[in-house]
């Protein structure tokens, strides 16, 4: 039996985000919010899969670590709850050798509940000897890895309205004083891993994310 979703926000937002400056296919979108539209955008899907909708993937390094951030289920205003869906499997792929498209590591995370309290479980994290799990909105640590899942500010910035005006008028109308994502949130995961656990010499890393739903698409 599928457990009903809790603390999710289907259809919380009613807009599309850009980068497709002038896409004739759909309203402009951004990094990856509300894409693919026929699965995640309620303008095009009566049952959008908001929890499985990736917003952005970020990755950088520090002197001691590799940091990966995955944002999803947004953007949404500050009066909406975070989204923790037990039926979605999130995967962060990391390739550090050989074919850049063949992941050496697959970090998977998913949500579960203890009563009404949501928790998160990470498996396959480089350098760890077992799952990292615990309550959301809590810094979890194991084998030098830090991980957290929770609701945070959406870090993306972009003038959506300017792009829309550009698209409709054919005249570039983007303004650098107007950020459509101002005040918006995403549910997000942050993972910080010791460099020694991820890197393979000086090989570059290739990182990408996938989401999938148990029992089929909504």
């Amino acid at each position: 039996m599928r457990i009903s979703r809790t603390w999710m926000t289907l259809g919380a937002t009613a807009f599309a985000l850009p980068l497709a400056l002038v896409s004739a296919d759909y309203a402009s979108r951004a990094a990856d919010h509300l894409d693919p539209p026929t699965r995640t955008d309620k303008d095009f899907d009566p049952t959008p899969d908001v929890p499985a909708d990736i917003a952005d993937v970020f990755a950088w390094y520090t002197p001691t670590s590799i940091v990966i951030v995955l944002t999803f289920a947004g953007p949404q205003p500050g009066n909406m709850p975070p989204t923790y869906d037990r039926d979605v499997l999130y995967t962060i792929n990391i390739s550090n050798a050989g074919a850049r498209t063949d992941p050496e590591f697959q970090i998977r995370f998913r949500f579960g509940f203890d009563g009404q309290s949501p928790g998160v479980q990470f498996t396959g994290v480089p350098g760890t000897t077992g799952p990292i799990e615990g309550p959301v909105q809590t810094v979890l640590q194991r084998d030098g890895v830090k991980a957290i899942a929770g609701v945070f500010d959406d870090p993306f910035f972009f003038d959506l309205l300017g792009f829309r005006e550009t698209r409709s008028t054919g005249t570039l109308a983007i303004r650098n004083t107007r950020d459509f994502f101002d005040g918006q949130n995403d549910t997000s995961v942050v993972i910080e891993i010791p460099r020694s656990a991820v890197l393979n010499g000086t090989n570059p890393l290739d990182i990408w994310a996938q989401t999938a739903r148990f029992g089929g698409q909504l």
């Binding site: 004739a24 970020f58 945070f152 910035f157 005040g183 890197l199 570059p204």
Partner: protein, 232 residues
Amino acid sequence: MRPALPLLALPVALAALGACSNDGPTAAPRPGPVESTPTPTPSPTATGTSFDVTRCLNQQVAPGVSVANLVIPDTVKLDVTKPNGFPNGRGLNDPVIDITLNVLFLDLTKHPATLLASLPLDPPGNEVKTLSDFPYLAPANGNPPMPPAGGTNFNFRTDPPSAYVSVDRMGMPAVATALISSAQKNAYNDSTPADDVAGKFTGDIVHTLTGLTNALADDFQRLGLTMCATPV
């Protein structure tokens, strides 16, 4: 020395950026209610000239790294021997859209890849300050209703990945959203970076980028910017 944006073009560009709305500099207003029946987005006015974008995809953004290399495969590339900063990795405050537009449309032998970001074309950064340490993301805006905290015995699924059906994938910002046509979007999101390298979507990317270039050429030309695409 950085290639110069024609001096006359810069004020024209800035004027264009600021002349099209009376909105204030703060948060953008929320869009109106969603229509029950989606309406196709109108296409902008094209210049009437068709362009070949091959040169755009082949131009170098770094030694040995072409624009096509950034887009295909659709992954975030992070080289720890080089400085952080998109497109080497992606930081929370990197101006990814301006840089992406720059390298897709402008001639990098005439303009630096940071030209649009240096204006900037879009907002220069996040509206709130990100954190210098873990978890790096800024706290949530507003006051989101939060579920009960705590718990120790969570009912995580134990089903194998094969029990799940693909929904979404992402690496580089805006590739799936801007460079993949609507007809290919679901197939693209169900595919892998290995499919990207095999060329499964290369034709679609070229076709989409060509359409965008044809539509925007007049804007870039009016701003005195040299496009990477060549007329056909």
